[in-house]
Symmetry: C2
């Protein structure tokens, strides 16, 4: 039986509709949530991503401001910009689009963002509260994965979850989140990585696999258990002479090889990607409500 294709676009639209209803209520009280995105340099992927976030904000009524700086911006100028955004009353969330130019100390800049406006969930204080089991702002992609599992009817509680990849953005925080005791997490989590000699031994027993190691088409059908739920976080460009652009976007999962064995799978694109943006919007509304003592 072919796997259920989990529609991340549809689920993220549901979340956005819920957020829009919340924002409409806030507006009735004269409150408009605001998100500032800082874009340094001319990396086209970064520019596209910031634009997508800004557009998503506007659609649901979040005030959005994109602040562009050129590549020659100094570390001190970035410090001043972040300090200013920390103070602004119309801004609830601050995103500094990664990567920053090499001459800017990126972790240093992240550290300066007010943790109460850190809607990316990358500030050490927010990462620390997450590890301590008292999360304030969870990082966006892992948060989107928890949402997509719950909302697609694949609650991980009590399940055997295998995460492939131990990266800072997904694998590490997700392993902590999914093993936490909440109604929508509470999974037994194994984190596999380049140091795991026999990854198939783990994936073949998993009820849910999250592929987030950044290796195109890594997870094959013969590595999974029939009926497993597969969450594909990968976004890899591969050469494809048959494609009009000569290349195409694929995940960390070999979709064609997995699709008749898995029980459910997220596509790339249209799976986890839209969930990440929805999570940032959700964090922004939370930041706004927290700042106005409405939570």
């Amino acid at each position: 039986m072919p796997a259920e294709i989990i529609n991340g676009k549809k689920i993220s639209d549901d979340i956005k509709s819920e957020l829009k209803a919340e924002i409409d209520k806030l507006k009735n009280q004269g409150i408009v949530p605001g998100l500032a995105a800082v874009l340094v340099g001319d990396n086209p992927a970064s520019a596209l991503y910031v634009k997508m976030k800004a557009r998503a904000c506007e659609k649901i009524g979040i005030y959005s401001e994109v602040i562009k700086r050129d590549n020659s911006s100094t570390h001190q100028q970035m410090v001043e910009l972040v300090n200013e955004l920390n103070q602004r009353q119309d801004i609830d969330g601050i995103l500094v689009q990664s990567p920053l130019p090499d001459h800017i100390d990126e972790p240093g800049i992240t550290f300066l963002i007010d943790p109460k406006k850190d809607v990316d969930g990358f500030h050490p204080v927010n990462q620390g509260l997450l590890l301590a089991g008292r999360p304030q702002f969870e990082p966006a992609t892992p948060m989107g994965i928890v949402e997509i599992l719950e909302r697609s009817g694949h609650n991980p509680s009590g399940k055997n979850v295998v995460i492939l990849g131990r990266g800072f953005l997904v694998g590490r925080p997700l392993s902590v989140m999914l093993s936490t005791k909440t109604k929508r997490t509470n999974a037994t989590v194994t984190i596999c990585h380049t140091g795991t000699p026999n990854i198939s031994d783990f994936t073949k027993k998993a009820d849910i696999i999250v592929a987030a190691m950044g290796k195109a088409l890594f997870l094959k059908g013969d590595m999974i258990k029939p009926g497993a739920v597969i969450i594909d976080v990968g976004t890899n460009q591969i050469d494809d002479p048959g494609h009009p652009k000569g290349k195409r976007l694929v995940g960390d999962v070999d979709f064609d090889s997995v699709k008749d064995i898995a029980g459910a799978i997220t596509p790339v694109p249209g799976g986890v990607g839209p969930m990440t943006i929805a999570a940032i919007l959700k964090n922004t509304v939370k930041a706004c409500k927290t700042r106005h003592d409405l939570i």
Copy 2:
């Protein structure tokens, strides 16, 4: 063949000797590391633990100061005390012995400790840097476990490690530390807990098991693979009519049932316990050297 008994006392003594040599060098430069321990109220276990830490400091040449406050101390008095210790030039590390009385906001006090003096590794900034893979001060018990594995010749790199328990003090941070890519970690880590339906399925495949769920004698011989390395973090008092005191201290591992199947095991007491204190001493020397720009 009976399991090797891993001597945590001996290994912690080795670490203390190394630290003493470092401290002697610092003293030649006129520098004495200092550790302040704050003890509130009259909990006998807390008092004993603070005393053990103070004595360990003195033995290797760390200046130790125990600051006692009675149970009626206010939150504001604790705030002032921590601020004073943050400022003091003779104090490199600050420990606030848990638990504090209920009327004091314990996470709030932890948050006030200068992260550079947080030798317990409990401050959200230090927890966050740990999760982000850029640790400054690691929490003491997990750090002691990494040390005891390495120094007893059971390096977990490439091994299948199962952690039992997802607590804030051990399981959660240890899962992050052991899966990180370093020469002495880099393990494939599974975290099991009360939400895991079939713990034996995981423990029977593990090369290394860390038992840290706080259930007396939970892990039995029939739950492990022959030759597995067992790290017992539990400290539970159980009734024992045959014991002079009518009770005795046992771990989370049923030592007698495991000892002829495991390859190696830490005893309780004398296993992980002494390692925790050694880790705090190590963090104190690190804090001192960092503050004097010697690292």
